[in-house]
Symmetry: C2
Subunit: 318 residues, 2 copies
């Protein structure tokens, strides 16, 4: 025992706003970070990554260890997946190519059961974890990321070789310490499903209403009717979570509501997807929670109405 541990090699699968932000923060902290890119590979290889953060200041990473193909990446101990949930199944080959033996694959994504479509496509030897990011960040251009506020990550173990509660928590704690070492608030969750339900208390109202009403958080929080609608949607998510056997701390929805009032004006990621004519993450954020709650005997009628409306909009936007 020397007391020193080799720093893990980290791979970023999908270098958008989320992958880019956390990858740059980890690189700044001295981690060996490798970025997989698609459409923005050339821009990032030439000009590097730029972060304009209201919390951490301006950062530039140049040169970037950037790759256009996963097979060229070194074997990574941690893989942080920041791509959209709508493409999880397509990412499996890249993850397998970039993973070191026993790698931890952390999905920094919103929604429920996002790990499941990936689990059956990955070898049993890889760990899958879920990560919930409480952050206001968006991609301002190729390789350019704007970070407006917050940044906390919650990490929970999903599936893989770790057997038993202790082993699962231990690997989640490893992930938590990575973020903490990069100056980011983070904590482990014993149950990733519970963490995902809790995050839905924010995502279900704000992501959907940003598209449905064409409004960012500030106007949504300034209008008496949208405020009541947000509260009612949050209450339905909490009911759904509890029906599914999860804990939601008392006052949790109220605290997210209050947090959003203090946030800078923010366009949720679903609105950016809508504007970019990309498919909306409706399965992960709406359809699966609705199905899970229904199976547990819980109706979430306002969420269902929102989901139906968004499905109509998504199909027209395609």
């Amino acid at each position: 025992m020397t007391g020193t541990v080799a720093k893990p090699i980290i791979g970023i699968i999908g270098t958008g706003a989320i992958g880019g932000f956390y990858g740059m923060m980890l690189a700044r902290a001295g981690f060996d970070v490798h970025f997989l890119l698609r459409s923005e590979f050339c821009a990032v290889a030439e000009r590097g990554l730029q972060l304009d953060s209201a919390v951490h200041g301006a950062l530039t990473l140049n040169p970037v260890q950037a790759y256009s193909a996963a097979k060229d990446m070194p074997p990574c101990d941690w893989l942080l997946v920041g791509a959209k949930t709508t493409s999880n199944a397509d990412l499996a080959p890249a993850i397998v190519q970039a993973a070191a033996p026993g790698a931890r694959v952390l999905l920094l994504q919103n929604g429920l059961d996002v790990e499941d479509s990936l689990r059956e496509l990955l070898p049993d030897s890889l760990h899958i974890l879920g990560g919930l990011c409480y952050i206001c960040v968006h991609r301002a251009g190729p390789g350019v990321i704007t970070h407006q506020a917050l940044g906390k990550v919650q990490v929970g173990y999903h599936s893989g070789p770790a057997v038993g509660e202790q082993a699962r928590v231990s690997i989640a704690d490893e992930g938590t310490r990575l973020f903490q070492a990069a100056g980011i608030d983070a904590n482990s969750m014993p149950d990733v499903q519970e963490a995902r339900w809790q995050k839905l208390v924010w995502n279900i109202p704000y992501n959907g209403l940003s598209v449905l009403l064409g409004a960012s958080t500030a106007p949504l929080m300034a209008d008496t009717d949208s405020r009541e609608l947000i509260k009612a949607l949050m209450a339905e998510v909490v009911e759904g979570a509890i029906a599914c056997g999860h804990q939601v701390p008392p006052g949790y929805a109220e605290s997210l509501f209050a947090m959003t009032e203090k946030m800078p004006d923010y366009w949720p990621s679903m609105y950016h997807d809508f504007l970019g004519k990309r498919p909306l993450e409706l399965a992960a954020i709406y359809a699966r929670p609705l199905a899970a709650a229904k199976a547990a005997g819980c109706q979430m009628p306002r969420i269902e109405a929102l989901y139906r409306s968004l499905s109509f909009i998504d199909r027209r936007n395609a």
Copy 2:
């Protein structure tokens, strides 16, 4: 008794799509019809009224007995109010000026309790009736009306000097016969509130969703998610009506749904109001039914979510 009855003098208060259509049909049938106009007075006085009807063909009425002030109108036995419910209280002085003693004031409007704001502003000697129009009609330009399909009117007595069920039904029947004499399908309803609730089964889904989703009936009826949402909203209206003590015939919602599938593609009136940046009829079509159902112990959560969303949109559109 001679068997002949003098034809009543009819006044149209608010010559938009509804008032213009029924007024022209009555004039064509030989009734003495007088039209009150505001912004379109000059256009109609110069060029008359035009109707392009898919059912009745092309009609022109020129010259028109057109007025820019109610005080210039002859005393009318029947006043048909086709203006928006959002301006009912403002219309009271014009109605009083144009009304013959004992006149019947028929509100050809959607929504609940639209008679109430007017009742307290009119003398007790005037009868108020409600009329529900099942029709696809819109204003195509100043004095120009396009009639796409349907046309049926349901008439019910609301309040006034008629005492007892028989007297109330008798006056509603008078109104029904006016429309029938003009070649329009019409029937009397014993309870105008019940008729209004039944009409809401159509208005609540289609008016709101046309604004919320920017879609006319054809695309709304072609998408699997909007179809399910429409059915769910209709079911909530039926529950609300029953909770408030009204009858809704079995299969009523299904018949309106099927009727809409057969209709030509149609933009409901609320969408035209939205486009024209006029206030939406949210109080009559949403807020009052929600309050009435709630008072009867019935939640209509999807309708409430729709109402909150529309309120946000309406305020932004002002």
